[in-house]
Amino acid sequence: MSQARADPDELLHHALEDERRRSRGKLVIFFGAAPGVGKTYAMLEAARAERDLRRDVVLGIVETHGRYETGALVIGLELLPRRRVEHRGVTIDEFDLDAALARKPGLILVDELAHTNAPGSRHAKRWQDVEELRDAGIDVYSTLNVQHVESLNDVVAQVTGVVVRETVPDRVLEEATEVRLIDLPPDELLERMTDGKVYLPEKAERAVENFFRKGNLIALRELALRSTAERVDAQMRTYRTAHGITRVWATTERVLVCVGPSPSSARLLRAARRMAASLHAPCIAAYVETPAALRMSDADRRRLAENLRLAELLGFEAVTLQGERAAEETVRYARSHNVTKIVLGKPTHSRWRNLVSTSFLEDIVRSSGEIDVYVISGDEGPARAAGPRRRPRTRPLAYAAAVGASIASTGVAWFFFGRRQLADVVMVYLLGIILVSLRFGYGPSICAAVVSVLLLDFFFVPPYLSFSVTDFQHVVMFAVMFVVAVVISNLTQRVRVQAEAARQREQRTGTLYSMSRELAATRATRNLAHVALDHVHDVFDARVTLALEGRDGRLENIAAGEAAYVPDEKEQGVIEWTWSRDKPAGLGTDTLPSARGLYLPLRGAQGRVGVLGVIPADPRRLQDNEQRALLDVFAQQIATALERARLGEEAQQAHVEVEAERLRSSLLSSVSHDLRTPLSVITGSASALVESDAVLDPAARRELARTIEEEAQRLNRLVRNLLDMTRLSAGAVHITKEWQPIEGVIGAALGRLEDALDGRTVTTNVPADLPLVPIDGVLVEQLLINLLENAIKYTPAGSPIDVSARHEPGAMILEVADRGPGVPPDAAKKIFEKFYRLPREGQGGGAGLGLAICSAIAEAHGGRIWVDARDEGGSVFRVELPITGTPPPPAPEEAP
């Protein structure tokens, strides 16, 4: 497979990687073969050199172990105060991550990368602290010994016989900006040891002495040198790739390792990891969940979860596949993902089993085709459940039933067939066994088979009423009967298990589907949150919470529904961390595992949406891989739905803004025209009065003054309407409803327009027995004034205007009717829109706001306004004001 050009995906990957690396802090690891080689010393020296270059250097945490030379180097460097942690009565000094982040130096020294933090710290491991420091853009110097590298862990254990528990994922080492090997020949190290220059913890002295044997040190040194060399090699390749040097293209290898619940899977994983690292191949850890796996014991389940976690820690992509046959599924996945090498463990079971069924290994080898298969000592393969299987709860009862069924078969056979028709008797027994196997499963059916054979022998086979057998033919018959029973049991069992698997899958799909469906039917974010929380609560039996990104980019807690909880300060801290780092945290994770809840970031297609928090009633529940995976899928669904809602709301907002923009521009054009016209008339008339005072006769002067007055009034109306509209649409006017008689408001409006109405016949029809209406008097007066002004403006001078009010069930109807030209039917709705004006000639109209204001006022009261044509010509504007609530109690008549 010789590719001539760089794969664009790969180049993009490099580019992204570069980008990430640039913004992240640098990590320099001082790497050594064993304690005492001088890593801390070298690190401090390097730090001093940096400080001399005027860099902001801080000592985060450095263990000098009382070594004089090292201690001397610390002097003069800024020391970050340590965090004191009380744990079981012991005070432990820990690295203070928050202080470091707050201090934000250019470079920080954090010794012993593999250190395990005290319980209650934010991260379980110090390397995670370092990751967070790097994410914050802080450069870090740290130290590491080769035995702490995860993938080398078991090799070191094999060589030295000392098991090291504190490990660092290979990824951390690979992602380090620089790895400086601090090398010291074993002889010199031993010399330093005898000089007492190497710190040995007292407790572990013996183990450590074993560790420091020369042979061990040589081996460790080789490991350190080799892994550094591999790293250099990898850098070389990356460099070549990045610079388009195509001669030695890294083959696009991809390694898939099959894991199962077996403890030896861990070894398999580490071996595969080393292999993948040397090939520079991405690696996948696959577990195939077959129907048989459902019977897995709890211990196996836990181990499987641990193995998959380890796989992720080692940098594998961990996948769980589902299928009937593990080998088939593995190969199918491998093919579809261009896997070039499959790694699996050696079979551990005995050979005779191969006679019954082919082994996983054989199946893989046979079907793998061009894919290489590596077999490594350790694990047999996926889905092979070691340890006791999960036992059905009704065990004793089932076995009793099995025995009972055999006895019943005996009775039936005896009654119908007697001792002569042996073949029919056997059939009856087989029927009994099948029924037991269908009803109670594998174990009881085998039990039934055994009991049946014994009963058959005892009652039906001569010599009767004895277990001894004289005829060899009968022995064969027993064997055949037994084998047939076992096969049948096996078959029915498989059917049962498959049905169970299907049921579980069905249930999973079902719960997910029901949530998706409900989410799809919900619009508003808050309702979505409610639906999502309820479903997560139902499915996982957990209390739940949701934190969503608010408008200002800060998190808002939404605890909707009964199952929701409001996170306390500590949980809130975990939520914030999950949010800012976009990684799961809390219960069952490596970060802040002491939290009560598990927190998952919600990521949509376009970015993060929020954080989902889950406090399960049973904390062990989320350790189950399957449940955790299901929760992840739920989180994904919720995130997608929330993102959809958010995008919808944003689109809505954008629409509103476009509408507002359109209004603004039409307002500008309308206002500039409508303001200028009266202004120019006023200016003209006034200047005529000022300039030509002498030549104007009194009549002309009066005429000019009247023009000025009229135009000023028009201007006043316009400005008033603009102000009202602005205040109404900006929500600045809050409506204060009071129960009051409507005639007062009508009277006030008519009174205000007294001059303008001069010469018109205004008929009012307001019955005396009208009830009080809950209205804002000022606004309704304004509404009436606008309607009356329109009537005055658009109808012939002197034509009559009718104002009336009447009571309808639940509402008060106000009417302003005129005898004008009427409103064209197609404009009957539009006239209530802002800036709409009827295309009429001559009339010095307003800005097209008057009716829009009326409409806004009516709506603010929960009512409406519309226009109807009158039969005899003209139009009638009707306003409906709802009468809701209870009118006030009658006032006390006697003054108190």
């Binding site: 000023a712 006043n716 008033r720 102000l723 205040r727 009071e738 129960w739 009051q740 008689p741 005639e743 007062g744 408001v745 009508i746 009277g747 006030a748 008519l750 009174g751 205004v762 009012t764 307001v766 005396a768 009080l772 804002d776 008097g777 000022v778 309704v780 007066e781 104002v803 009010a805 006030p888 009658p890 006032a891 006390p892 008549e893 006697e894 003054a895 108190p896």
Partner: protein, 229 residues
């Protein structure tokens, strides 16, 4: 009758110029102040018959000026307000201002209000007339009898109290608070609805067409006014 002395407190030079040039010079004399502080100073230095107070002053707010004036003088105050200052307007009236005019206003309107205010001021010191008359409405306070067109109108005690309260300041607006306090006492200040209900009753008894009132005028959002002339 000597000329009326007006004090105009308004920061707008155009408004001051408009009044200065359009007030009939024989009947009115005008004092001007462009800030609240100067207005207060002028009011204490020179006697004025009516004070015209703009609500939107640069230094003090109009309500504050009213309050400080009312600490020592009973000179009628007419508030000049722009639209959108409804709250302040009512607050100023409650603080003791006598009347208000919404800008823009016409000269005849202003002069009418000034006359009403001045007349009341001159009456305030005297004993109140026992009989109040406007149009064909007649209130005989001594006999506690109200007649309309010569016929007696039967009023409940509350209605009578309300009507006399309005009549005492006829031509002026009375705010809800002022009316409530006067008729029901200081404890009922939040029950504006009482007022609406009794005004409705009163209108039913005194007005031919309550929607076109001749005497009892509603000032939405502010209060009520009994027409004075």
């Amino acid at each position: 009758m000597s000329a009326l002395m007006l004090l105009l407190i308004d920061d707008e030079p155009q408004v001051r110029r408009f009044l200065r040039s359009s007030l009939p010079p024989v009947e009115y004399k005008l004092l001007e102040a462009d800030t609240g502080e100067r207005g207060l100073a002028t009011a204490s230095a020179q006697r004025s018959d009516v004070i015209l107070l703009d609500l939107g002053l640069p230094d003090l707010d109009g309500v504050e000026v009213t309050r400080r004036l009312r600490e020592w003088t009973a000179t009628p105050i007419i508030i000049l307000s722009a639209r959108g200052q409804d709250q302040d307007k009512v607050a100023a009236l409650d603080a003791g201002a006598d009347d208000y005019l919404t800008k823009p206003f016409s000269l005849p309107e202003l002069l009418a209000r000034i006359r009403v205010a001045a007349r009341h001021a001159s009456e305030r010191g005297d004993k109140q007339d026992a009989v109040f008359e406007v149009g064909d409405l007649r209130i005989d306070r001594a006999a506690r009898v109200v007649t309309l067109g010569g016929e007696e109108v039967r009023l409940t005690p509350i209605e009578y109290k309300l009507l006399t309260a309005l009549a005492r300041r006829a031509g002026h607006v009375l705010t809800y608070q002022q009316l409530l306090k006067e008729v029901w006492g200081p404890r009922s200040l939040t029950h504006k609805q009482y007022l609406h209900v009794y005004m409705g009753h009163l209108r039913g008894k005194l007005e031919h067409d309550p929607a076109k009132p001749r005497f009892l005028v509603t000032e939405p959002g502010v209060g009520y006014r009994l027409k004075g002339e």
